[in-house]
């Protein structure tokens, strides 16, 4: 992290968000009856989709995206564990297709654990979780083939998706599968909205495990996120207000780029002089780059910020 000029503000705000999450986890643990979470239609549809697959005797397909093992895929697997739990109770066959070897390994562990905790370890089949390919379109082709051959009744597309999202959604639609989708990528969410029956939009994806399990840790964390969102909203409103007030005053200083070192622009603040005036001699209006808020979001790297060249140096080898 660089702490030049104003960049510490980002760290401070992030730490406040972390404090919100931790504080609410403690609150939720101590509160009887739990905290309220609003209804999320996409998650209510999970059990309906599994029920439909059970009635039709066809498998439930789950795809945790094509991303690597990260918070998004772990969250997707967490939701899939809930789906598997319900599917296991009705002996509905499941299929999880993975595009990343690490996600595949974790998925296999999670699904095996779910069957064992449900007392149905004997029903677990290694082929429930399958590694298809780590190449995007080879994966898309492989999964499309599985959807067509197995005639899946329900598909859960939750995780990190890119261009292949629409291939999955439309292929599932072509076999009449009910689709519940969710992606944290804003570029793919519109495709899912256009093609799928239910979509988890934005942070609903992260709210899913709290909604499904109602554990104090998860619910508290969700409330902490909401506090964070409120803080961000308040900061946006305050920012609009300060920016509007700031723009009405006359400029006194301006940012001037005075050089460059290793690709970093070196900036100085200089007093506004006559050369900045308008053609008719009147003082120019304030630009957005003259405002205090612009300064906060564009920290200044001044020429003196770089390290002293007289610092101790390593001795050359052989000298």
């Amino acid at each position: 992290m660089q702490y030049l000029d104003t960049a510490w503000i980002g760290v401070a705000v992030t730490l406040v968000m972390v404090a919100f999450v931790l504080l609410n986890i403690v609150r939720a643990r101590g509160k009887e009856g739990g905290l309220y979470i609003r209804r999320i239609p996409g998650l209510n549809a999970l059990d309906d989709a599994i029920g439909r697959a059970t009635e039709m005797g066809r498998p439930v397909l789950m795809i945790p995206g094509i991303g690597t093992l990260n918070a998004i895929s772990v969250q997707a697997l967490s939701i899939f564990a809930h789906v598997t739990k319900s599917a296991a109770q009705f002996s509905t066959p499941i299929k999880i297709c993975c595009a990343d070897a690490a996600v595949y390994t974790v998925a296999q562990e999670v699904i095996r654990d779910v069957y064992q905790t449900q007392g149905m370890g004997d029903r677990y089949n290694e082929d429930f979780v399958q590694f298809v390919s780590d190449r995007q379109f080879a994966f898309a082709a492989g999964v499309s083939g599985i959807i067509h051959r197995e005639k899946v009744a329900a598909a859960f597309l939750l995780g990190e998706f890119y261009a292949e999202s629409l291939i999955f959604a439309e292929t599932c639609n072509s076999v009449g599968a009910i689709q519940v989708a969710g992606s944290t990528h804003n570029t793919q969410t519109p495709f899912f909205i256009a093609a799928c029956d239910y979509v988890l939009i934005g942070d609903e994806f992260y709210a899913a495990s709290a909604y499904l399990k109602r554990e104090p840790v998860l619910v508290g964390s969700l409330v902490g996120q909401d506090w964070g969102k409120m803080l961000i909203a308040a900061m946006c409103l305050l920012g609009c207000f300060i920016f509007s007030i700031d723009m009405t005053s006359a400029p006194t200083t301006k940012r001037v780029t005075v050089g460059e070192e290793n690709g970093t622009s070196l900036v100085e603040f200089q007093a506004v002089d006559d050369s900045d005036n308008m053609e008719d001699g009147s003082l120019r209006k304030k630009r957005s780059s003259d405002t205090a808020l612009h300064h906060y979001f564009h920290p200044v790297v001044s020429p003196g910020a770089f390290q002293d060249r007289n610092r101790p140096q390593k001795e050359e080898e052989g000298s």
């Binding site: 590694f131 439309e170 992260y206 140096q313 390593k314």
Partner: protein, 300 residues
């Protein structure tokens, strides 16, 4: 700051010491994997959490600790803060390498899964076994010719003669046929199919059956028309004739490009920003729960 690990990574390529370290690391990795597999679940969870916390703590420290800027190759740190900052910066690629090595181990498991499914289908002559045969044959051929071609280029071509197609042999042509001639083309074919899927999805999404679908349809129509040059020209000329070419006339805001820009900048961008904040906070909370061992993963 020199880490002990630098002694391993700093060995000369091809040296006996490096090979020794590699073999040792491989054996250690296998032993650790076997030990983790045999460990009872009660013992496995704390050890996984300790490893998660330690690696998370490293990245947290790297993020929060002041990092050196414009550091020269021979610079030495001054004071405690710089010593830690230099050490963290030096250690980062090494720590990232550990994740890459772990992933390499896991890729083996992925290949095992693939072979388990498809060889099983092949030997049992289950439905659609022909597809499995094609997959296994393609995989074996790609591995053989991929490595053969790579070894030729890596070890038998010091003058880079294979950079020119004229010097290629059977192996290089075979690999080129498999990779560029088949795999890349099939990738492109799959990608092209998205155009047709977009059409069918758009047809279903834009049917006017609710208020939301109507709004979606109207905004999509504005966007489509705004990027059609002919429509934009005719419509803009019509507006210009009404305003008499006055750039300050309020009717200029009714031009299709102005309306499209308004929809994008005033309606779409704020909504996306709000979603991004929500997603970022969700990822932060999820990461925090994983780091502190509060997330139970799939099993409750």
């Amino acid at each position: 700051m020199n880490l002990p690990l630098a002694a391993i990574w700093g060995q000369d390529p091809g040296s006996g010491a490096l090979i020794g370290y590699l073999v040792g690391a491989f054996i250690l990795g296998v032993v650790m994997m076997v030990a983790m597999t045999k460990m009872p679940t009660r013992g496995r969870k704390p050890s996984v959490w300790i490893a998660t916390f330690a690696s998370g703590f490293f990245y947290f420290l790297f993020w929060i600790w002041p990092s050196p800027i414009n550091r020269g190759p021979s610079d030495l740190p001054v004071g405690f803060s710089e010593k830690v900052g230099f050490g963290l910066q030096d250690a980062l690629p090494k720590v990232a390498n550990i994740a890459i090595i772990l992933t390499a181990f896991l890729l083996g498991l992925g290949i095992y899964s693939l072979l388990h499914v498809h060889l099983g289908r092949l030997f049992k002559k289950q439905k659609d076994w022909q597809f499995s045969l094609i997959l296994v044959v393609s995989m074996v051929l790609m591995i053989i010719f991929g490595y053969w071609d790579w070894m030729q280029r890596q070890f038998n071509d010091p003058d880079l003669l294979l950079a020119k197609m004229d010097n290629w042999g059977f192996v290089n042509y075979s690999f080129d046929l498999l990779f560029d001639g088949l795999l890349q083309q099939m990738d492109a074919a799959m990608f092209s199919m998205i155009a047709f899927f977009i059409l069918s999805a758009a047809y279903r999404a834009f049917r006017i059956k609710s208020i939301e679908a109507t709004v979606l349809m109207a905004s999509a129509l504005i966007m489509i028309l705004s990027i059609m040059g002919a429509v934009d020209m005719v419509y803009s000329n019509m507006i210009d004739s009404m305003t008499g070419g006055d750039p300050g006339h309020f009717l200029n805001d009714a031009k299709i490009t102005a309306v499209a820009s308004w929809v994008k900048n005033t309606m779409q961008v704020p909504a996306l920003r709000a979603l991004e904040f929500g997603v970022g906070l969700g990822a932060l909370a999820m990461g925090l729960r994983l780091w502190l061992g509060l997330e139970k993963g799939g099993v409750s």
